[in-house]
């Protein structure tokens, strides 16, 4: 290839893709992009690519795809539109879509240039070179409730003095105590009543509440097994109800 050719022909390396090349060629038409002639532009583009190939310069695939598409668009623009609508866009619509892309890219190229022309931080304007900083001092706030404090003391106390204080068997309500207590009510409770109602009065609030509840519960199970009471619970963890069972009176008569 001749040196003259190389000098005259712009290298494709200077373009950011086919639309960018089209845009550059459109600018040579020196008309507003809104009134650009796509037909004329297609000719310019095809001529440019043709020249590149004649000079055996490498032409990237996407430029060739665009060239083929423009040749197709040109033929459709020159021929009369087929009378019936084939469903696809018309040649005019295709041309307008391309023109829109040209305007879009041009807008973005301008926008990029305006952005870069702004007073940029670190290039044109500077922030404070040695900001002292705004100190934030972390102030620990300890979270502890009186309950946790007392409980901890209790646990410690228990660990240290547990041996002395452990055994207080008489303070428990045993299963047999509970059975005896419940037996008084059997036969006298026709309707459902909550299990809690059967707890011995004295044990309802004190420290023995839990053991009393457990013993009473176990006793009702024993009695239910024997058919002397019936149990009923509406949902898991819901209140437990009991009433006298079918064999309440019979069993009441017999020795336990």
């Amino acid at each position: 290839m001749s040196e003259r050719g190389e000098q005259l022909v712009l290298d494709l390396d200077g373009y950011e893709g086919p639309i960018d090349l089209l845009l550059a060629l459109a600018r040579e038409q020196k008309v507003d992009l809104a009134r650009i002639s796509i037909l004329q532009l297609a000719d310019q583009y095809l001529a440019f690519i043709g020249e590149q190939r004649r000079l055996q310069l490498e032409v990237a695939a996407d430029y060739l795809v665009m060239a083929a598409w423009l040749a197709y668009l040109k033929s459709r623009l020159l021929l009369p539109e087929p009378p019936e609508d084939e469903g696809g866009p018309s040649a005019v619509e295709l041309a307008e879509a391309l023109a829109h892309r040209l305007r879009l890219l041009e807008a973005m190229q301008r926008a990029g240039a305006s952005l870069m022309a702004r007073p940029l931080l670190g290039r044109d304007v500077f922030q404070h070179g040695a900001p002292e900083g705004l100190a934030t001092i972390d102030q620990p706030v300890f979270e502890l409730s009186l309950y946790e404090l007392l409980k901890s003391y209790g646990e410690n106390h228990r660990r240290q003095h547990g041996q002395v204080l452990t055994i207080l068997p008489s303070a428990y309500q045993s299963l047999s105590d509970a059975l005896e207590h419940l037996a008084q009510f059997i036969g006298r409770v026709p309707d459902w009543r909550e299990l809690m109602a059967f707890l011995p009065e004295a044990l309802r609030d004190g420290p023995l509440y839990r053991s009393a509840l457990a013993a009473t519960f176990a006793a009702t199970l024993e009695l239910a097994k024997a058919g002397r009471v019936e149990l009923h619970q509406e949902r898991a963890f819901g209140p437990l109800y009991l009433r006298s069972g079918s064999r309440a009176s019979e069993a009441e008569a017999g020795p336990e």
Partner: protein, 195 residues
């Protein structure tokens, strides 16, 4: 000088980044009329070598733009962005949230890997969420650092953004040739970016 104004001045001066009005209000106390104080302070600095400016949703001091040349020799010149990177940045800024495929459609060329990397590295763009469309592609958006670097208070201040919206140039429009997207020659672009 009023004590609140002095404190506001010192706070903005000491903070390494623009301070939002919420944080300023917190530090100045509820009784402070923050907008009035900011106006007064901005007025004090108007025409000086340092100006009070609203940036990225906050307030900070910056050197006056007209002193750029006089201050420049002080600093090393930041690496120039390639044309591809500038265009890509503009597309992300004006069209966000935007997918890679949309960036390629608008620019009419495939996106070289280095281009987005470079913008990510600058901290100016970031992926944010995915598009609910086939392939669930990533959405790209600009960051607060982008606003800070380009001296913008918000995306509404992007140059010419309203005109572009009104003339339909923020809509990508129908596809052309089923979108041409052969990838750019990466090595070539990188070389250009460094140049």
């Amino acid at each position: 000088m009023n004590e609140r104004l002095r404190l506001l001045e010192a706070l903005l001066f000491a903070a390494p980044e623009p301070l939002g009005e919420a944080e300023l209000a917190l530090r100045l106390g509820d009784e402070a009329d923050l907008p009035a104080l900011l106006r007064e302070l901005a007025g004090n600095y108007a025409g000086r070598g340092i100006n009070l400016v609203g940036i990225a949703g906050g307030w900070t001091f910056r050197t006056a733009p007209d002193l750029a040349t006089a201050l420049k020799s002080e600093r090393e010149v930041p690496r120039r962005l390639s044309r591809a990177a500038v265009e890509t940045l503009a597309v992300i800024a004006y069209h966000q949230p935007v997918t890679r495929a949309e960036i390629e459609a608008i620019r009419g060329v495939g996106l070289a890997r280095g281009t987005l990397d470079r913008l990510l590295e600058s901290g100016w763009v970031q992926p944010k969420g995915r598009r609910e469309s086939p392939g669930r592609p990533l959405n790209w958006v600009t960051t607060p650092q982008f606003l800070a670097h380009f001296g913008l208070d918000s995306l509404k201040e992007l140059p010419g953004v309203e005109e572009l919206r009104q003339s339909g140039l923020l809509d990508i429009g129908p596809a052309v040739i089923g979108e041409l997207a052969a990838p750019e020659d990466e090595a070539g672009e990188e070389a250009e970016a460094e140049g």
